[in-house]
Subunit: 416 residues, 2 copies
């Protein structure tokens, strides 16, 4: 590997020190002190490598490199924020890989080894994780016009602090940041967060489609009463109703072929959450994903029956409000072809692959031609401190992204 | 009814204004501003009615009336704190009834209509509910020597505020408060929190026993992972494991005759509680009660099997730590007989009754002869804003408690 690649691993180790947990992960939810510290370090890295740093109104952090005055940008990035007690690769790997790839391609262009058609920008999207501030992919949603800036800035965390306040407390360099109209192409690299690449011994993946997903906010309404003295037949226990829904959602997956349906319930709030009082209300998130839209539809039909049964058994009322819904969404075939050609050129074993998780590229691909790449995750571990990608896989990903960016900057991917 | 009884309803309405909720309940957890305001009002009431107010180190609020210099006290009371969004009768009714009963009996003694053998003290026990600060019955537990004062003062609420700090912020008159050695007898009146009296058309209940109860802190340990991308077979979802335990605990009740087993799970904490991360840990309270100790033992045996099954299905580890355990605990038969004689004397229809809920008298009866009385609860509603006891039932209870206190002050209940 080249000297630059050795530098990548050193930089990644340094970056992983911000919000580091004892077990080797990071804890740097969006807009926290640990996130701000990581952003400040990355801003310094950008400056040291000749990028011009800027931050837009929703906190997306950019580093731009001018190669062709007035030309649009090839934008490359991911996110530096994390889930609570999470892994150090998710997002952060992609941001640093983007920065290294951009620096290398810019050097090639400036030394005449490459004829650039575009300028280069790297980006750290604000709040991709959505753990502290809902919704997830906040920065890229505002950037692509899917979410209003004012609405995003007004979102508050469970302690009542707003996005606007959290951003104001952090690192904010002056100067104009790129806007969507300035961007011609987008590329992103991420760890797989699954174990398909590892199991098939494949070195890199080129993402061609996103799984279909439906997400709901579930509210279970019961009635407060005394945990001890209330007769069992008089109870309307919202936590019991919620437990039946959680179990039903999980058991649903067994109704389909393995790998056809992922379901989960997460983030739960119990009211009043007192030791001797039966819950009057439970609120939680329900998440269903599938590589087949028909499976998702059938799953929701089955779940509806289970929920009606849960309502009857617990004497509660269950309300579902859909918060996210997307079908199978393909990445542009020209972008996939460019990714495949790049992997071939470098001699990396590769496969086209679907992504189950959402990424900022999910937003970007809807508005500009996009290339999305994966490197293997050991055992598919994700959103856990034990998340891991081997050095050789991480470095191979930087090589692949560099080749993709090289081609994008040269204007290889035509507009559709 | 007498003028004093009319005054009781007026006083009760005034007291119910502190921490009042729109739906007719109260929300005044221990040591909050609403609790402090209620305590200050009650302190003022005591002073206006000739009581000497004092507060001990754990925040128990007393009003004493000297009738026989140097004699021990007949202590009467309950608690003014409430669950979140709860009813206005639970505890508060008993404190005000005690104050009215004490004032009437003292007036009788001072006018020569009664020969007193004891002094009188009313008490508002601190933190009976245990919703903000664990454990419940904190004030009476410290008073009776079951819980160390330092340990209780160091307990913190979920926001990190200690009992000591919460007490320091409130109403603290100077002066020595009674201690256990000063107390000869205890009496308490409470709403039933069940519907046995109402269903049988009985006016008052004399409590003769406490249901057996076992309470556990349940910890479900799984592993964090991504709600979307983690394969179903790779998941170790602590929330799914918790849901199986909640459902199993509830279904257990159906294995026994109606009214033989009450079970519930309440107060649940989910880590990390993020929308796209599977829970690594859930902590919750499990509560089992029965009027038959053998039922409780059999229930725990069955639950153990269900928990082992839940662990297997969810690939989690479930740990139970017992936090409370008591068998069927009778109240002294002499106290029950005195309560029955009092009800007969007043011509009230009455029955001996078990209490399912714990009360401060549960602590006091272990150390001094105790009389515990119930008045009916409409539909048995408890720990809910709709909790209700009719005026005529509330006033009848004050009459009964007054008669009981009259007999206790006269020395009718012999020491055992």
């Amino acid at each position: 590997m080249s000297t630059t690649n050795t530098g990548f691993l050193e930089d990644f180790a340094a970056m992983s020190g911000f919000g580091a947990t004892a077990a080797g992960g990071v804890d740097r939810q969006a807009g926290t002190a640990a996130d701000h510290a990581t952003r400040a370090w990355f801003g310094d890295w950008l400056a040291r490598h000749g990028f011009t740093e800027s931050v837009d109104a929703i906190g997306n952090q950019f580093g731009t490199l001018e190669l062709v005055p007035g030309a649009p940008y090839v934008l490359i990035g991911s996110h530096l924020d994390s889930q609570p007690m999470a892994g150090r690769f998710d997002g952060a790997y992609g941001v640093l890989a983007a920065a290294h790839a951009a620096a290398r391609v810019a050097a090639e262009a400036r030394s005449g080894r490459l004829e650039p058609a575009c300028n280069l920008a790297v980006v750290n999207w604000f709040n991709e994780e959505g753990s502290r501030f809902t919704p997830s992919m906040m920065g890229s949603s505002v950037f692509t016009g899917k979410l209003a800036l004012d609405e995003a800035l007004a979102v508050t965390d469970p302690a009542g602090e707003s996005v606007a306040a959290a951003l104001a407390a952090g690192h904010r360099p002056a100067g104009g940041a790129p806007v969507l109209a300035d961007v011609a192409r987008y590329a992103e690299i991420h760890i797989e967060q699954g174990r398909n690449l590892e199991e098939t011994g494949t070195q890199v993946g080129i993402v061609d489609c996103t799984w279909a997903a439906s997400k709901y906010r579930v509210t279970v309404d019961g009635a407060q009463s005394h945990t001890g003295s209330t007769r069992m037949e008089d109870r309307r226990d919202a936590l019991y109703g919620a437990a039946l829904v959680i179990a039903a959602a999980r058991d649903l997956a067994a109704e389909f072929e393995p790998g056809q349906l992922h379901t989960s319930v997460s983030e739960m709030y119990v009211l009043p959450n007192s030791p001797v009082t039966i819950a009057r209300q439970v609120r939680m998130n329900l998440d269903l994903r599938s590589p087949d839209e028909a499976v998702l539809a059938r799953a929701m039909e089955l779940l509806g029956k289970s929920i009606a049964d849960a309502e009857g058994r617990s004497r509660t009322q269950v309300t579902l409000e859909q918060t996210h819904q997307w079908g199978l969404v393909p990445y542009q075939s020209e972008g996939v072809a460019l990714g495949v050609a790049s992997a071939k050129r470098l001699g990396f074993s590769h496969t086209q692959i679907m992504t189950v998780a959402g990424h900022d590229s999910t937003n970007l691909k809807d508005v500009v031609p996009t290339v999305m790449l994966f490197v293997p995750s050991v055992e598919g571990v994700s959103h856990h401190e034990a998340e891991y990608t081997r050095d050789e896989d991480a470095l191979r990903g930087v090589e692949l992204l560099t080749e993709v960016v090289r081609r994008l900057v040269a204007g290889e991917l035509p507009a559709e």
